[in-house]
Each structure stands twice: as C-alpha cells, then as structure tokens.
C-alpha cells in the first residue's frame, strides 16, 4: 500500500507525528478494562486464550466480561461504567446455563449501584445486545465464522453500535473429533481433506479476516485435555505464588500443568501467551468459594548469549480473585 514517492527526501519525511499516531491508534484500538482481568493490557484486535482444567471459572470470566461489555456507561443518571457495545458468544459443544447467570449478574449490578427499581428497559436492552450461537461440530463453526461478517453488519445497523468482543467457548472442543476424522481422499489431488490441520488453518484465516473488517477482542477458552502429570509440582508452585505475593517473579521451575495441544497455526494468532487459570476451592465463613489464580507469561528474555548456561527468565504477571457462590468477583 506504499504510495510511490517522487524523491528520496519525500521518503525520509515523516507520515504523521507521534501524537497523531497515538490519537489514531487509541481511538481505533482502544484498551478494554474487563474485570477481573483488568491488569492485562487487552486491546481491541487482540486474540487471547484462557486455559484451565475443568472447572476453573473460565466461562464465569466470560460472563463477567459480557456483562461489562453490554452495560452502558450511564443510564437514567446511574453510572454503570460499562462499555456500551455488542457482544458475540460462540459456544462450541454446548452451553452452561448462561442465561440464568446473566440475569443474576445484571440484577446484582443493579443492586450494587443502589438503583431503587429493577430497570426493565435497561435489562432488555442489554440482553438484546448479547448475541449467541451454538456449534455442534467444526463445520458448523466454520459456517458461522464465514457468515459472521454479514451477521455483525446486520446487528450493527440494528443497534447502531459496534461489536467489541467475540468469545469462543471452548476452542479445543472438537479436537479429538477432527483428529480422528479420516475421510477417504476422492477424486482430484488438489482437494483439501478435512483434518485437524486444515480446519485450524481455516479457522485462523477467517478470524484474521474478520479482525480486519471488524476490530474486536477475541477471547477463547480452552480446556486441558492431556492430564495433569505436573499436578504435584503445580500444588507446590501454587503455595509459592500465594505466599510470595509479588507481581513478577522469575522462576525456571514454574511448570504449567498442561500440555499444549492446539496446532501451531492457532498459537501464532494469539497476542499473548495463553493465560492459565488454576482454581481451588476454599472454605470461608461457612461457604465454599473458588479461589482462582491466573498466570500470564508476558515475555521470555534470554539472559545472555555469552554465558555458557542458556537461562531464560520467564517474567510473568499473576493475580488472584475470589468467586463466592459464582456471583460478585473480588479482586485481590
């Protein structure tokens, strides 16, 4: 897309100043604050993955994000602080009672803002901004992705606002089915056989195209499916993480308790390393709660190429939050 320059001078001259560039980028790709992941610099256009065994509150975080997304900033004088945008949820496999939780969340939001009555109009407005679809196999998922552009355009015309978040729950749902599908190759040799690799490539391709047309944040959850051989190690590390209470720690012994199974083409599209959620039940005040730790590896820096030992410092940020009775989330 480079325009032809007339002289070398023109080529050296700047296109825009840093100020205009930042102004442009920050409006086109705004930062999104989604509790409880508000410490992670999520921007529109990023692709994020949340990993954890089952159960580890991944879907719960999605719902929390959904509620923040559809609530308006202000309504009838009450400040809700939401993002005031549309929200798309793509469920692979099946749904877990999302509507009930959603309703509870909205009611809770109403209560905490001390509004005297349950605002029916606001509630139905927000619920209509939540778009949802189920897919029962990879082909249905691909069909959805291919037609998502038109669907989003239609909804944007209807509501007058854009889509900010697309969620996929969960991305590895059809992994085994795709892996095992052995279709007889018939006819021409240039025909693509549906396999795990081709399906993943097409999914990534469609998501990239979609992000060009409709910039939005894509969050995918993923369940671990290869057992926790490191579970003992994890428990020890959890203890360390809890007590150390530091925001960043370098630890070469920090092993993640799962094995990566998504093809590399999917891993390339992610903006960050997958965020691991580890949940533990704790008992407090006679009720059981979920304490969830999330770990996000931000960067890997090789220490020095001169030293004989090749040591990599893993810088990670972590946080924890508490889920009591699956309702309010208190961040610690």
């Amino acid at each position: 897309m480079e325009k032809v320059v007339g002289s070398p001078r023109e080529w050296i001259d700047r296109n825009e100043s840093a100020k205009t560039m930042l102004a442009r980028v920050l409006t086109a790709r705004p930062l999104l604050l989604l509790p409880p992941l508000h410490r992670v610099p999520l921007r529109v256009g990023n692709v994020v993955e949340l990993v954890g065994t089952s159960p580890s509150a991944k879907t719960h975080i999605l719902i929390q994000a959904a509620v923040s997304c559809v609530l308006p900033k202000e309504w009838n004088g009450v400040h809700y602080g939401g993002l005031d945008r549309l929200f798309c949820l793509n469920v692979l496999g099946s749904l877990k009672k999302i509507d009930q939780e959603h309703m509870d969340f909205d009611l809770w939001n109403n209560d905490t803002k001390k509004s005297p009555t349950y605002d029916e109009e606001l509630y139905s407005l927000c619920m209509r901004r939540f778009l949802f679809i189920r897919c029962y196999d990879s082909f249905q998922f691909l069909a959805t992705l291919k037609t998502l552009h038109y669907r989003i355009r239609k909804e944007q015309e209807l509501h007058g606002i854009s889509v900010h978040i697309l969620m996929i729950d969960s991305i590895g749902a059809f992994h085994w089915i795709d892996r095992a599908s052995t279709f007889m190759p018939l006819g021409a040799t240039n025909r693509k056989t549906p396999s795990l690799q081709t399906v993943s490539e097409t999914v990534v391709q469609e998501i990239r195209k979609l992000l060009l047309l409709h910039p939005m944040l894509v969050i995918a959850t993923k369940a671990t499916i290869f057992g926790d051989r490191y579970s003992m190690e994890t428990k020890r590390n959890l203890g360390k993480l809890d007590t150390s209470n530091s925001r960043s720690m370098s630890s070469t012994s920090l092993q993640l308790p799962y094995r990566e199974y998504m093809p590399s083409v999917w891993q390339m599209i992610l903006s960050f390393e997958p965020m691991t959620m580890i949940a533990r039940s704790i008992f407090q005040n006679g009720c059981s709660h979920h304490r969830v730790l999330w770990i996000n590896l931000l960067s890997k820096r090789p220490v020095s190429s001169w030293s004989h030992e090749l040591r990599e410092d893993l810088v990670c940020s972590l946080g924890s939050f508490l889920i009591s009775n699956m309702m309010p989330i208190k961040s610690t």
């Binding site: 099946s94 139905s124 679809i133 003992m232 009591s324 009775n325």
Partner: protein
C-alpha cells in the same frame, strides 16, 4: 451419511475390543438417529452437483470452475477462502454468473449453522422450557437448588454400590405419569461403554466419546430432557480415587456429582465436582429408604 462413516472407523477398533465395542457402536447409532429425526436445518454436506436441482445457478460451468480449485462438495467450500475464489472468478469470462453462484453458496452456508439467538430469546427459552426435575431426595435437591435441570447433562461419579442406581430409581419415580413428553434419559453406565475403546493409542476412542457427549447435550437442549450419565472411579495419584474416562471427558458434562456411601448405613454423601453456578466442594448427605 455420517452414520456410515462412523461405523467404518469404528470397525477398525472392533478387531481389538470385541464386546464393549458393539455396545458403544449401538449407543452412537441410536443417538444419531434420534437427533436426525428432530433436526430442522440439516447439515448434509452434499456434493455440488446435487445442489444444482435446487439452485440452478450452480450449473456445470460453476461446478467446473470449482473443480479446478479442488472444490467438489460443501465441506470443501467451508475449508476454502471464498474471497480468493471471488478474485479468481473475476478473471473468468463468465465472472458475473460465477460471482452470483458464490453468493448463492454463501447463503446456503448460512443455513448450515444453528440460528443466532440474543439474550432475551435465551432467557425466554430457559424460563419456559428448562424446568427443574426433583430427584426425590431432599438433601440433593437442596444442594442443587431444586434438582436436575432440563437441558443439562449431569454426571454421577461413584464407586460401585455408592447409591447411583438407587438415585436413578428415585428420579424415575418423580416423572409424572401420563405425560407424553420424554423428560428423562439415563445412560447407565457411560464408563463401561466407553472405557473399552479408549485405549489403543488411536484417537477414535476419544472422538467417539466426545461425539457421544455432544450428542447427549444436543438432545438435552433440543428436547428439553434431563440427561443423566453414570461413571465409576479409578485410582489416581497418591491412592485417591478419581473419576474414570479421563481429562477430556471432564469438560463435557454440565454438572458433575460425586456419590459415596458409608458402609452398612443408608446415609449417602454427595458432593459437587463441577456446577455452572456454584463452587465445587459443596456437599450434602441424604438417606435412601428401600
């Protein structure tokens, strides 16, 4: 068509594991036939030439154009980049007609997925159709906020003689007689059907297990059923028993309950492994009278 394919790669597994194999085969066929009967927008991936009868714009010229790009059926279309195809179509002499064909095909693809819903529609469906079925045991009902919910797949994990079958009998007696609608589907036990085909290093066993799980959830949602499956336990790390069927199965059921039984008494313990709206670890006790 799908049923035929699954019998094929299932028969490879059968050479190794005879008995258990036949059972999972039958379960899978039954589930698939049941869903096919209730389905509206069928996703049959037809070859392109069969579509010509219904959509005359997908004529032989279009089919030949697609064939040069390796597209012979709807599945191939889904795996292909349609924008690239449009760009190629522009270079042809019949570009207008080809592009119309591609647009037609895109609208066919739009009918291949489930319908989009918004929050209000979901809520309506939940309030009208997805009621709660009491288990007949007060302790469990209190724990589960009323009982088992329709549209959800519930798993009962427990060693043998831990009360699973008694609970199922209780549940069955709760069904209202005279109602023509099917309300409850029990698979007892999922583990004895699936475990024989899980080993062997191939992925067909896991694929069948996850497919069966998804089909059960689909049935639960579309026909508003309570679906209950049972599972047994195996030894885990440090001698603690854990549910069978492995890590992949863990994320499939909506609700997972652990049952155990004190020897000689009629008091049973139930605890929650996983539930969409409560933390795991909550427990209760209940009694079953013979």
């Amino acid at each position: 068509m799908e049923v035929g394919l699954d019998i094929k790669f299932f028969q490879r597994e059968r050479r190794k594991k005879e008995e258990g194999g036949v059972l999972i085969h039958q379960l899978y066929i039954v589930l698939h036939v049941t869903t096919a009967r209730g389905e509206r927008g069928k996703c049959e991936m037809a070859p392109l030439k069969y579509l010509e009868q219904e959509y005359p714009i997908l004529d032989s010229n279009f089919q030949n154009f697609c064939a040069t790009h390796g597209i012979f059926s709807e599945e191939d279309l889904l795996l292909h980049d349609l924008h690239v195809l449009v760009a190629f179509a522009e270079q042809q002499s019949t570009s207008e007609r080809l592009k119309q064909g591609i647009t037609q095909v895109l609208s066919i693809i739009d009918g291949q997925h489930q319908p989009w819903l918004n929050g209000m529609e979901l809520l309506e469906d939940a309030q009208l159709n997805k009621h709660v079925l009491s288990t007949g045991c007060e302790g469990i009902d209190l724990l589960l906020q009323g009982g088992l919910r329709m549209g959800q797949l519930t798993e009962l994990v427990g060693a043998s003689s831990s009360g699973k079958t008694q609970l199922e009998l209780n549940l069955r007696s709760q069904i209202q007689k005279g109602d023509c609608q099917v309300q409850l589907l029990i698979v007892d036990s999922m583990s004895s059907l699936v475990t024989p085909i899980l080993g062997g290093g191939g992925s067909q066993g896991h694929a069948l297990m996850t497919s069966a799980g998804f089909l059960l959830k689909k049935l639960a949602h579309e026909h508003n059923l309570v679906v209950l499956v049972t599972n047994h336990t195996v030894g885990g790390e440090g001698g603690i028993s854990k549910p069978a069927l492995g890590e992949s199965w863990k994320s499939i059921p909506h609700v997972r309950l652990r049952l155990s039984h004190d020897q000689g008494s009629s008091i049973y313990n139930v605890s929650v492994f996983k539930h969409p709206s409560m933390a795991s670890g909550k427990a209760a006790r209940f009694t079953i009278y013979d």
